[in-house]
């Protein structure tokens, strides 16, 4: 019954994001799963199932860009949409250059999120 939904994984150390974003993603028609760290995501079987990764940049331990590099090393080509509360303008071009689909600054609008996800799914 849920086979039509694309799986979107959310990796963020902020609990309110892990709580709220999957619900919105579900309302938007995706199947979502949240992880509190990059390490937790890598250890799960979602690495192979995920169609799109919504990834926080600054996290304790492995950061978002660290995970991006790690996935590249493992040849897992999951499209990534970065989200960050640090409005550092130099970060965005850096992660986009590394192949990310989009980088959204928190708080982001629903429309910006949908557009980024659509772009990511087109890539995959």
């Amino acid at each position: 019954m849920l086979t039509g939904r694309s799986i979107v994984s959310v990796v963020d150390d902020d609990e309110s994001v892990r709580e709220s974003l999957p619900d919105l993603l579900w309302e938007l028609g995706f199947a979502a799963h949240a992880f509190s760290s990059a390490e937790e995501f890598l250890a799960s079987d979602y690495v192979d199932k995920t169609r799109c990764l919504v990834l926080d940049i600054a996290m304790p331990g492995m950061t978002g860009p660290d995970l991006q590099r790690e996935l590249k090393l493992r040849r897992k080509e999951i499209p990534i949409v970065f989200i960050t509360a640090h409005r550092d303008e130099t970060v965005r071009p850096r992660v986009l250059e590394q192949g990310a689909v989009e980088c959204l600054f928190k708080p982001f609008s629903e429309r910006a999120l949908v557009e980024a996800l659509n772009a990511a799914l087109r890539v995959s």
Binding site: D14, L24, E27, F108, E110
Partner: protein, 600 residues
């Protein structure tokens, strides 16, 4: 040093004294033995020689004249005068006026037990009378020097200084073998005495010239000149170095007008202020001002003057002026770098603070928006997912609370530094602030005057915060003055007792002033009349003064400029607890909670 050496002066002058006489010698030619009856020992001759000596006639000339006077005393008598080298190992013939070529052939004799008459007399420190040089062994090796002149007898008398130091010899030579008579001995004794006076005088002058040369060298090395100034007559005396610093000709008489012509036009008020104050009360002064040289280069001068009264009660200043251009220029560079650094530090810390606030607030805001969007979608579904919507609304509220906690934490952070309540001597606190700002004030060419009431009671309050207020008022005044070029940049800080057991501090400047209608707006945050600056200073200053239960206000001067004053109660009951003192409003804390537009 420019001083010629002992030997040179003697040798040169001996040559010239016999051939061409120097002007001073000619002027005093009446000392010369015109007639043989003129006795060396006549009061008039001695007096004239002494006059010659004290008029500063060249030593070789004086010695030659004395030698001639002595020679005039007796027929067939020759006179030579020998001077000891500075290292004491040789005597040199300074004059032998009637023995042509003598000094050229016999320039020196070593001091020792067998050094003819002159070298031996110095060695023995006693007279040596040789009745016949042909037979006396003291003359072995020297006879050929005197025989061509037919000299047979030589008597040498050591010349002693008043301290008993041997300076040379006074020698009498004869063409016949003979010893001295009692009259000869008396004559030699008297002549030696006069020569001794001439030598001592010469040495003292040399010593003085040497010490003056040392002083001049010291002044040149340290670029410091000295001066004296008789205030009543306007008579000014400068040392050579001061002429060099001002680049004036040594012959030009120094006047205040002349000095004024070199002082940088912008610093003329500073000079006038200094002169007025010196004339008024004769107090010591210390100033730094600039000179503008004829090639338009600028020099910085540090000047100190000490006023004292002479015997007749007239005011005389003695002072020193140092050229501190190099130091000042490097200080200015340093100051510029420092203020740029401070600015960068302020901007970066503000930037870092903003980023941190933005991050802290963005996180819950992000949750609020996501939840609200989800909520709307759940309610819009058919059928509406009311339970889900309720849950997302609950999360929205929770994130809203979180954002407000961030604001509370920020407020706490800003008021973290608690005020310290203590007894504060406002005069002392003011002096400290002035000391801190002195180089900045001097750079702005501000003439600072203080009128701190000596009977000012101590107040109770936070010393550091009150000093921040004073510093802020002082800086504002200094900046308001920096645009002023047509009048002295005067700044007055005064303290006084105020009505109702209060203490008042006033900072008054002759700067650009402010629009009277804007007097109250001055204290609003972000209001500024300056190109640089955030407009925070006066707003924060007023908060601090209000925490001290005082008042801070601005008023326009009668003349140009503005006056800022605060008045605070001195008693401890006037101030609330330390907690409330520390809780100064900061605009950053107030403005950080502004809502954002709906991004959905």
């Amino acid at each position: 040093m420019a001083d010629v050496s002992h030997e040179d002066s003697v040798d040169n002058a001996v040559g010239t004294a016999t051939a061409t006489q120097s002007p001073s010698t000619q002027a005093l030619s009446r000392v010369e033995p015109a007639q043989s009856e003129t006795s060396l020992f006549s009061g008039e001759s001695v007096l004239n020689i002494l006059k010659l000596i004290f008029a500063g006639a060249p030593l070789p000339d004086v010695l030659t004249i004395i030698a001639r006077l002595v020679e005039a005393e007796g027929k067939g008598m020759f006179c030579t005068i020998w001077l000891l080298d500075e290292d004491g190992s040789y005597v040199r013939c300074a004059t032998a006026p009637s023995l042509p070529g003598f000094t050229a052939n016999w320039d020196r004799t070593p001091v020792g037990p067998t050094g003819a008459c002159c070298g031996t007399a110095v060695y023995r420190r006693e007279p040596v009378y040789v009745t016949d040089v042909l037979s006396d062994p003291l003359w072995d090796g020297y006879r050929h020097l005197v025989l061509p002149y037919g000299i047979r007898a030589v008597w040498a008398q050591p010349l002693l200084s008043s301290e008993g130091k041997v300076l040379g010899t006074f020698s009498i030579l004869y063409r016949e073998a003979r010893g001295p008579s009692t009259a000869d001995l008396q004559m030699i004794e008297n002549a030696s005495h006069i020569v001794g006076i001439a030598l001592e005088r010469h040495m003292k002058e040399k010593e003085l010239r040497r010490s003056e040369a040392f002083l001049a060298e010291g002044q040149r090395l340290s670029r410091t000149g000295s001066f004296s100034w008789r205030v009543a007559t306007g008579e000014i005396t400068w040392s050579e170095e001061l002429y060099r610093i001002f680049e004036f000709d040594r012959d030009v008489p120094v006047t205040l007008e002349l000095i004024g012509s070199r002082v940088h036009p912008e610093d003329i008020p500073l000079l006038n202020d200094m002169i007025d104050r010196a004339r008024d009360n004769g107090s010591d002064f210390e100033y730094e001002h600039r000179l503008q040289m004829s090639n338009h280069s600028v020099k910085y001068l540090h000047m100190v003057g000490h006023g004292r009264r002479d015997g007749d009660g007239r005011l005389v200043y003695i002072g020193a002026a140092q050229d501190v251009t190099e130091r000042r220029l490097s200080e200015e560079t340093l100051g510029r770098v420092r203020s740029e650094l401070a600015h960068v530090a302020r901007v970066t810390s503000l930037g870092a603070l903003t980023a941190s606030i933005a991050h802290e607030v963005s996180q819950p805001l992000s949750g609020i928006i996501t939840n609200a969007c989800t909520c709307l979608r759940m309610l819009a579904a058919d059928p509406p997912n009311v339970d889900g919507a309720r849950e997302t609304a609950r999360r929205t509220i929770r994130d809203g609370d979180r954002a407000s906690e961030v604001i509370t934490r920020l407020r706490a952070l800003f008021s973290k530094k608690e005020g310290t309540i203590e007894s504060v001597d406002l005069n002392e606190a003011t002096r400290e602030v002035i000391a801190l700002s002195l180089s900045e004030l001097q750079r702005n060419r501000v003439i600072l005057r203080t009128e701190l009431a000596s009977d000012l009671p101590v107040v109770t309050g936070d010393r550091v915060q009150l000093q921040q207020v004073i510093l802020n008022l002082l800086r504002n005044a200094s900046e308001a003055l920096s645009a002023v070029d047509d009048r002295p940049r005067k700044l007055l800080i005064s303290t006084e007792r105020d009505e109702g057991d209060r203490v008042r501090l006033t900072v008054q400047d002759a700067g650009i002033g402010f629009d009277p209608q804007a007097a109250e707006r001055l204290f609003e945050a972000f209001y500024t009349t300056k190109n640089e600056g955030m407009g925070m200073g006066l707003s924060i200053s007023r908060s601090i003064i209000e925490r001290h239960h005082g008042r801070l206000w601005a008023a326009a001067n009668d003349g140009p400029g503005a006056m800022f004053s605060f008045s605070i109660p001195r008693g401890p009951e006037g101030v609330t607890g330390a907690r409330s003192l520390g809780n100064i409003r900061t605009p950053a804390a107030e403005d950080s909670g502004r809502a954002m537009g709906d991004p959905c």
